[in-house]
């Protein structure tokens, strides 16, 4: 816990003193982060800095072992209380918590035996209990939002990487989550396919979707994010509006040297 425990009223997710270690390796420590409603928060930093781990702690895909993550005040993954060691919440409770959080993965993770529409509709039927017809209608709408209506009946193997990732985004938003987590959504894509995915994400942001995005796309972070969080060696160095990160002389030397590698390649 830190002195800064109060969180803004419009915070959807709050992390306080968040820590995670694997054996003796401390992957994250002392993270205090607020994800505000209808904002895009980008997580950037060198590889191995803990960006993805932090993202995966937010929906308990990784069980954090210090501090807390709260969504709307509700502790995620662990039972609230003073018990030590903490006990995980019931499987039912965890599923309920995860339903509020959509996730898009670097490797898409589409289910290969289902068509695009089936991928999107599956959880609507199995989790939300919609009829097959209702779920299909909703799936088509979600696919239309990512401009893939005409690919609804294709299997993932017949889609390009960019199209697959857009189906994955449709799958996440069809569940009407309160926030969508993106774990390096464009890192596995050929360069010419990156744009179509980023455009879809930009549209979502414009529609007011709360998003947390781990990315190496500095252009996206600079122009779309409301706030950019910079991580280094498992610690949160800064979480500020993009201008403060991407100006010519960022305050922190770690941010400066990180951005230097991009500047050298003329990316920013």
């Amino acid at each position: 816990m830190t002195e800064n425990s109060s969180s803004p009223a419009n915070a959807l997710i709050t992390a306080r003193g968040l820590g995670k270690h694997y054996g003796t390796f401390q992957a994250l420590s002392g993270i205090d982060l607020d994800i505000l409603k209808s904002e895009v928060t980008c997580l950037i930093g060198p590889s191995g800095s803990g960006k993805s781990t932090l993202l995966r702690c937010l929906n308990f895909l990784e069980a954090y072992d210090e501090g807390e993550v709260r969504i709307d005040g509700q502790l995620v993954g662990w039972q609230d209380g003073k018990a030590s060691p903490r006990k995980p919440v019931s499987a039912t409770k965890l599923r309920e918590q995860r339903r509020q959080v959509g996730m898009v993965f670097q490797q898409f993770n589409l289910w290969p035996h289902m068509t695009a529409a089936q991928n999107v509709a599956e959880a609507l039927v199995q989790v939300k209990g919609l009829s097959k017809a209702e779920a299909r209608d909703k799936a088509i709408l979600a696919l239309a939002r990512v401009n893939l209506r005409d690919k609804a009946d294709n299997h993932p193997s017949a889609l390009s990487g960019g199209q697959q990732q857009r189906v994955a985004i449709a799958r996440a938003i069809a569940m009407e989550p309160r926030v969508v987590l993106f774990d390096e959504p464009t890192s596995a894509l050929d360069p010419e396919l990156v744009g179509e995915v980023l455009n879809v994400m930009r549209d979502l942001a414009a529609d007011g979707m709360t998003m947390v995005v781990v990315t190496h796309e500095m252009g996206f972070a600079a122009h779309v994010a409301n706030r950019v969080a910079f991580l280094d060696h498992g610690k949160l160095v800064a979480c500020v509006p993009p201008d403060e990160i991407f100006r010519q002389d960022p305050a922190d030397p770690r941010i400066r040297s990180f951005l230097q590698t991009y500047r050298e390649r003329n990316v920013v």
Binding site: R95, F105, P112, M114, A123, V127, S157, A158
Partner: protein
């Protein structure tokens, strides 16, 4: 060839074939079910649970089927388990096959990438839904061939049931041979029966494989 032999012993052979098929189908489907259950338990249990399941697998795999049958059928009554020969045969088959099936399914679970589970968990699916809808259809792609293979092995293992007097195919054929002093014809006929079962199984396996891989490499114009 003495064809009248087959007219005389035909009904007995066919009934033996029926018993063989019964033991094989019920026993191996039961073994497959038990094996699947073991693999699922293995997937979701801690180190103690896994050690117990592993011990069961090793114990059953480490003993010959014939000995297992002897214990079940002849030893059973001493701990209150009275089984008819056919019951003992089916029950024994389920137990004998289960660890092999369990290992095939366990490999199948491992062949499905973690990301597939994670994507489903993020949607809020229950573990059982994930197995049924996401994992099983994908693992069948890689395990249909070994499953078919083991089913084929099991067709021929049914012959061992004759040692506990199950009136199956080999048992009836031996009776026929002993009573008529003919050997070539009965055992040739016997081979044909097994061959038919094996061919049927591999045909079925190919059908299933075509079905479960239908989504692969399908390009739409």
């Amino acid at each position: 060839m003495e064809l009248d032999l087959f007219i005389r012993y035909g009904p007995a052979l066919l009934s033996g074939f029926g018993i063989t098929v019964l033991c094989w189908i019920v026993g191996s489907l039961g073994g497959m079910g038990l094996g699947f259950l073991i693999a699922c338990l293995y997937q979701w249990s801690g180190s103690w649970g896994r050690a117990c399941l592993q011990a069961y697998i090793e114990a059953v795999r480490g003993t010959p089927f014939m000995i297992q049958l002897f214990i079940l059928y002849y030893g059973g009554p001493s701990f209150g388990l009275l089984l008819s020969p056919v019951q003992a045969g089916i029950f024994g088959f389920i137990i004998y096959g289960s660890p092999y099936f369990a290992e095939i399914f366990r490999a199948g679970f491992q062949a499905v990438p973690t990301g597939q589970f994670e994507a489903a968990r993020c949607c809020g699916m229950t573990e059982w839904t994930i197995v049924r809808r996401i994992v099983l259809p994908q693992m069948l792609v890689s395990i249909t061939a070994p499953l078919t293979n083991f089913m084929i092995i099991l067709t021929k293992e049914t012959a061992i049931l004759s040692v506990v007097t199950v009136p199956e195919l080999l048992f009836e054929t031996q009776t026929m041979a002993a009573e008529t002093f003919t050997y070539i014809e009965p055992f040739l006929a016997l081979s044909l029966f097994y061959w038919a079962m094996v061919e049927f199984t591999s045909w079925l396996g190919r059908r299933v494989e075509r079905h479960v891989t239908r989504h692969q490499n399908r390009q739409t114009p």
